[in-house]
């Protein structure tokens, strides 16, 4: 599948800004951040970029492009969003003991947990600092953007906290799961679109349309991630099949399997999940139950539902047809992405 245009077109805009924001050479800590971003190897030598998709900064710049002309400012805001996203990845990897990201060893496996914790914190402050240093022409824009980003961060952290609380619970209702992902993943994605619009759009209806598109996109993105967490194949995602089952993540597939058919399989699943470690046979049993319940089809249907909803909302923003086509292409990519 070809990379959608939205993910290509704005890369050079935000990558330059990102590099500027982490260019300090005075401190070893910034080397860790540049490694994390995929620009340098362990020794600090430049490498061919191994960055992620850049979905969030691309969305911010795309919305800014579609609604106005202040793309050079949006590039700095987009940078800030990508730094926040990476801050959360670095800390998540420490917490989940993830050893690989994009086929590269994670920060903590190289520099240890203590220094990686600090590197994550530094990444977060670098994000706020990036906003602080933007010259918007008027100070009130800066303050409202800073507020929006802080709010998204707080929601993201609250979602992460809920996610951990859910791990200890026997079963989770769909509604609670959706609330959790709307914070954990949705808040920053939604903010990415809203922050692209904020400098350009005054019309409340258009603002709302973009906000609703971002909200729906957040659900779809996390549910697709949850699908990959169970059925993603190892050579694509770097995680073994059933990874999220083994980790007892209360992701959508297990939420569905637990609650489906009036919880017909709930007791069996709870028994498997009650073991300290879930064996290979246990993982297979869970996968078998999900097959019977058509859990994967359900999850893919839900992804599709939210993606369509995002598309409809985005249409209401009444931006130029060319941008609408770009958004549709992105939506199609997100529906079937394998990484």
């Amino acid at each position: 599948m070809n990379e959608p245009k939205i993910l290509i077109r704005y890369k050079s805009h935000y990558e330059n800004e990102l590099k500027n924001s982490l260019s300090s050479v005075d401190s070893q800590a910034y080397s860790m951040l540049r490694y994390c971003m995929g620009w340098e190897d362990i020794k600090g030598d430049l490498i061919d970029s191994h960055s992620g998709k850049g979905l969030r900064p691309s969305l911010c710049l795309f919305v800014s492009d579609a609604t106005g002309t202040r793309l050079h400012l949006a590039a700095k805001v987009a940078t800030s969003i990508e730094l926040i996203h990476n801050f959360s990845l670095v800390h998540d990897e420490i917490q989940d003991l993830d050893e690989m990201r994009h086929h590269r060893p994670t920060l903590w496996t190289i520099w240890g947990k203590g220094k990686s914790l600090i590197a994550g914190n530094l990444m977060q402050i670098a994000a706020h600092n990036t906003i602080n240093l933007i010259d918007f022409g008027d100070e009130s824009s800066k303050i409202s953007i800073s507020n929006m980003l802080s709010k998204a961060c707080i929601q993201m952290l609250e979602g992460q906290n809920l996610d951990l609380l859910f791990e200890k619970k026997d079963s989770i209702e769909l509604e609670d799961y959706l609330h959790m992902i709307s914070l954990k993943t949705g808040a920053l994605l939604r903010a990415s679109l809203n922050l692209g619009a904020v400098l350009n759009v005054k019309d409340t209806n258009i603002k709302n349309a973009i906000d609703q598109a971002g909200k729906a996109l957040g659900y779809a993105f996390q549910i697709r991630d949850d699908i990959l967490g169970v059925w993603g194949t190892e050579d694509i995602t770097g995680k073994p099949v059933g990874a999220d089952i083994r980790r007892k993540k209360k992701s959508l597939p297990i939420v569905h399997a637990m609650g489906c058919d009036s919880g017909k399989y709930a007791n069996q699943l709870k028994e498997i999940y009650s073991n300290a470690d879930i064996s290979d046979a246990g993982v297979d049993q869970v996968l078998e139950i999900m097959k019977t319940l058509k859990t994967r089809e359900y999850a893919e249907g839900l992804t599709e539902k939210y993606l369509q909803s995002a598309l409809i909302s985005f249409k209401e923003s009444k931006v130029n047809k060319l941008f609408q086509d770009d958004f549709q292409e992105l939506i199609e990519f997100l529906a079937t992405r394998n990484y």
Copy 2:
């Protein structure tokens, strides 16, 4: 020893603001923060406050009081500083596996490392948010205060990172140690004074005098901490004698003992430190060497030197004599504090 007036007088100002900033009841995450601040027990019930000394917010309010009248604004800035300080404590405790703070179990021992990591992050964003929400009347004050706080945070994290880098090194020069603590501990303490002055003081000489007082105070505070880390008695600090030796911290006493008398004992110390764990006998040997080298006297002398330097600089700020007396009382307290 009586608590100095500076640490008592401003408590009510910042404590109310602190409580406001962490009052959200929607999210379990904030309960962790209120527990951390010493206001609630594990169940979320109110308790008699078990807060820390509040040195940083008190210093901010004290300087604001001594140089002007905008104490209500300084109280919010002071709140933000205290939140940053607590964010760093929460993460440090996870990293160092500290089980107690002020005779209470630390956050991670109750809620686990994952949720405590998140709680620390939330505390940090709450700090930035507190600044965002202040109505200074002019937006540029907000931005310069936000910049000062971010800069102090970045320096603090760089210092923490250096501290961890030093743990892996055989020996550390005094100069490198002083640079590290000027960042790790000094940056936020120094910012506490500077942030108290920034709203009131325009005169560069006065600004510099306060800044230099803060810088010297930072050195003195950390060196006193290092003394307590080795010789502090368990019932006062909650840490056993020799705690920092056992943890192989490159704190001032070991920096001194390694380098003293042309490194006469360096090899012996390195051999003890080369063991994966330092035994009780090893700790006693190190303490014995420090006794021979008068390391404690040296460290106390250095504390005294920096405290006197802080006092002299503060005098140059030319604030009212009553405030100078208050500052002197604080200095005397810090020279001999046991906690």
